[in-house]
Amino acid sequence: VSLTEVPELHVDGGLPGFPGATRFALVRWGGDDSPFSLLRSLDDPDLSFVVVPPAVFFPHYEPEIDDEVAEELDLQSAEEALLLVIVTLGATASEATANLLGPVVVNQRTLAALQTVLSTGGHGTRVPLVA
């Protein structure tokens, strides 16, 4: 999926902490050259998350997606998977952090998505976007 479209993602069971939010619009945010997008809940209009493909800020981040996740999302090839990490904003841009422990995996073919937990790599939930 090109991120210029507005895909509707389905997250079975919601995200941890937000079990009722199962449908999200993924929309570009911040202008043409912005790497960021917004995950906007279609169940709760006040709920949104800033997300970014991790490769933009973390080129060496290569999470291993469990077979169970691939199976649950019916991923048939690695290319079908779109990886996003949730960004926690701070008062200034340099305080922004990303959750590398729990990336969101999207099947670009079916638009099913889930937030997984990486069992390897020792990643944290608050990793600064910029050092």
């Binding site: 941890p16 701070g90 959750n99």
Partner: protein
């Protein structure tokens, strides 16, 4: 809290399709197998709580915070 005593290789069922099996007991560690439908997410509790906290902290950023993020781009890297 329901308390059940189980030995290694014995299981309990939660509902009709979740089976939790004690695989091995060694000292203060217990290995547990969980057989559940794909729609049932299984997490270590402390990890799930950490994700909950992280998601709550990240949820619905205010306009000021979004404004601050607006110009953030990755550092230029040497290739």
């Amino acid at each position: 809290v329901l308390v059940l005593t189980r030995r290694a290789n014995q299981s309990i069922m939660i509902g009709p399709d979740v089976v939790v099996t004690v695989l091995e007991v060694r000292g203060d560690q217990v290995r547990i197998g969980v057989d559940a439908p794909r729609s049932v997410a299984v997490h270590r509790e402390e990890v799930f709580r950490e994700l909950e906290q992280a998601n709550k902290a990240a949820a619905s950023p205010g306009d000021d915070a979004l404004q601050a993020l607006q110009g953030l781009r990755p550092p230029t890297r040497d290739t």
